[in-house]
């Protein structure tokens, strides 16, 4: 596989001596236009990688905030097709920031895997995170995605032990997403010391960059993680800002403001 935007971004950040700020927002939340504005604004607010959530009716690993964001998006008529359109509109003025599409398998399966890979690639998607496709189901999408030149990014969790880890890593690329707690998105923040132990263990098995997420809400928390990981992922806290906004403009501003704060936290940590 040749280098993707994700690979290039992690190499550049390594040279720069800092961790990546990985953001997650839901496509179509609060609506198409405002979500597009959020995504377009995120790189300027310090995001190094953007995960775009693909809405699904039954997100079994998500907490209430992301569940509701998905339902808001669906209520506004968001679909997989429109999610890809949003990404291609973003790509018109940003050819560098990596985009990872994150969601559940059924909308992709329903769209048709081959057609999806063709359309996602031409929209400018760089990687995929599909929550309900563990390595046991690699034939479904992971292997075809790799073939199509997309990174298939895998989650490792506290339940992923040393025996299982190589299997999880086998066909993954781009980075490894370490989910720092057993739970749904938006649960309590992890203890940095537990995360450090886990990362030491995982690094014995892989050279992939490791981004850590689940439960990070503030610049200070993200900075703690940035000291030990190659990236910090923030999702629920950003998604909550969308819901708090009194109108679209306010939602956009709130998300970007929080992103700037967290980005400053991450950038304050210099690594050698």
């Amino acid at each position: 596989m040749s280098d993707t935007r994700i690979d290039r971004r992690f190499k550049a950040l390594k040279a720069e001596g800092r961790a990546a700020f990985v953001t997650y927002v839901m496509a179509g939340d609060p609506n198409y236009d405002a979500a597009l504005e959020i995504v377009k604004g995120l790189p300027g607010a310090g995001a190094d990688i953007i995960e775009v959530g693909l809405p699904f009716t039954d997100p079994m690993a998500d907490g209430p905030a992301i569940q509701q964001a998905g339902l808001r998006a669906l209520a506004g008529g968001m679909t997989l097709k429109k999610t890809l359109k949003l990404i291609s509109e973003f790509r018109q003025d940003d050819n560098d920031t990596p985009i990872v599409l994150m969601g559940y398998y059924n909308p992709i399966y329903s769209y048709g895997v081959d057609q999806f890979l063709t359309d996602a690639t031409s929209a400018g998607v760089d990687g995929l995170i599909v929550v309900d496709l563990p390595s046991e189901e690699d034939k479904e999408l992971c292997l075809p995605a790799r073939e199509a030149g997309l990174n298939f990014i895998r989650l490792a969790t506290p339940t992923t032990d040393d025996k299982r880890l190589p299997k999880v890593l086998a066909n993954s690329s781009g980075f490894l997403y370490y989910v720092s707690i057993a739970g749904t998105t938006g649960a309590a923040a992890p203890k940095a010391s537990d995360v450090a132990t886990a990362l030491t263990r995982i690094r014995k098995t892989t050279d992939l960059p490791i981004a850590v997420g689940f439960g990070l809400r503030t610049g200070a928390q993200a900075a703690e993680i940035a000291k030990i990981a190659d990236g910090a992922v923030v999702g629920t806290a950003l998604v909550e800002q969308v819901a708090l906004g009194s109108n679209d403009k306010d939602s956009v501003n709130r998300v970007l403001e929080l992103a700037r704060e967290i980005s400053a936290g991450i950038r304050s940590v210099k690594k050698t």
Binding site: T57, Y105, T157, T159, V179, A182
Partner: protein
């Protein structure tokens, strides 16, 4: 498709029945599911496990359940001879406890301290709360708010049995949403919690192990019908929510090609409306709750809400093995509407002195189309999966009666 030597060998080692089944879960759950699979495989090889289970099924559940010749229903339709497999007579009033007893023994072997389950009609919740009480394990039951409203007696039963009933407020607040919430609980409480899934759905090995624990229904039926009639039945009939009572009856007969097998899905207001729960007839293959199976979904692959008057059938999916049996044509799947089920419910009360569960009434409803034209020596066995005490409020409401 080439003819198979046996229809009973599934799933394959990756947990698939043809293209259906599989293990579509978040990574957090994968190690737990593999652990469950290993524990289940070990239990199959352990005669002590089978002995303990069959002792409990006999003395606690009250098995075996009778195979009862429904003389007056037979007379009423004037055709085939109708037998009822009386799962309604089990302790807690439905087939659900067969599976719960098996799974709780697995949970104990695995050293789990806490039990969770989803429930629709509340029958699986009651059965789970019952076995959890019996073995002194903490128990939380997820139930949609809509179902809590329409199955109040069962909600109170679960509470009496010491379970924590957690109302689910997402989606249409029915079975699908309860299952989402139970999965979220499991993702969070990975160390001490065992998830007792109530039907032949979910990630492998659930469809297989729930089926195996329910097969006692069909195995007994084989013995009983041989005793009563000296031969196998001509037709088997069962209602389908996720499909566990049906699979339990059907599976031991799958290789008897002369036995016609029919599953009845819930057609709600009719399958040409948007208010039904017939995933095979109104859906297409997709991935939800850990397996690939037929699902009610829109063009974008978003899951649609099901509708049935019966909470236990109100689910937009179906167990993966049923999807496979449908596609290969071994089992025929039909459906019955809310109205047809209500009629059959009342008929069974009046003619047989048995109040059936609204779920089971869907199977009974199909008799109207099937039985009259068949010869008198044609034998039909219907799985009377549960009793209808829990449903009297719903039925009263549908009939415009105030209680």
């Amino acid at each position: 498709m080439a003819k198979l030597n046996s229809y009973r060998t599934g799933p394959d080692e990756t947990g698939h029945f043809g293209i259906f089944g599989g293990q579509f879960v978040a990574e957090t759950l994968m190690p737990l599911i593999l652990e469950l699979d290993a524990a289940y495989e070990a239990s199959k090889k352990d005669p002590e496990f089978a002995k303990e289970l069959s002792g409990l099924l006999k003395n606690f559940v009250g098995r075996e359940s009778p195979l009862y010749f429904a003389e007056r229903l037979t007379e009423h339709y004037g055709g085939a001879k109708i037998y009822l497999k009386r799962e309604d007579l089990n302790h807690t009033g439905a087939h659900k406890i067969n599976n719960c007893m098996g799974q709780i023994l697995l949970a104990r072997r695995m050293g789990k301290k806490r039990i969770i389950a989803e429930t629709g009609a509340g029958q699986h919740g009651v059965a789970t709360a019952t076995v959890a009480a019996r073995f002194g394990l903490e128990c939380a039951i997820y139930m949609g708010e809509t179902d809590i409203e329409r199955q109040k007696p069962n909600v109170f039963r679960m509470k009496l049995l010491g379970a924590d009933v957690i109302p689910v407020k997402s989606g249409a607040r029915t079975l699908k949403d309860a299952m989402n919430e139970a999965l979220r609980d499991w993702v969070t409480n990975v160390d001490d919690t065992f998830y007792i899934i109530g039907t032949v759905a979910g990630p492998h090995p659930y469809p297989e192990l729930v089926r195996d624990f329910q097969c006692v229904i069909g195995e007994e039926t084989r013995r009983q019908i041989m005793e009563a009639e000296g031969r196998l039945p001509d037709t088997l009939l069962a209602c389908i929510g996720g499909g566990s009572n049906a699979m339990g009856l059907f599976h031991p007969f799958l290789d008897d090609e002369k036995v016609e097998i029919i599953g009845v899905e819930a057609a709600g207001h009719g399958i040409d409306t948007d208010k039904h729960a017939a995933s095979l007839k109104g859906g297409r293959p997709g991935v939800l709750h850990g397996n690939r199976t037929y699902l009610l979904q829109d063009d974008d692959g978003q899951i649609l809400e099901a509708h049935s008057i019966s909470a236990g059938l109100d689910y937009p999916g179906i167990g993966p093995e049923h999807s496979w049996l449908n596609d290969i044509g071994r089992v025929k799947y039909v459906n019955a509407t809310d109205a047809e089920a209500l009629d059959a419910f009342q008929l069974c009360c009046k003619l047989e002195g048995i109040i059936p569960a609204l779920e089971s009434a869907h199977a009974l409803a199909y008799l109207e189309k099937l039985a009259p034209d068949l010869p008198k020596d044609h034998i039909i066995v219907i799985n009377l999966s549960g009793r209808g005490d829990k449903d009297i409020f719903t039925v009263a409401d549908a009939l415009g009666v105030e209680l």
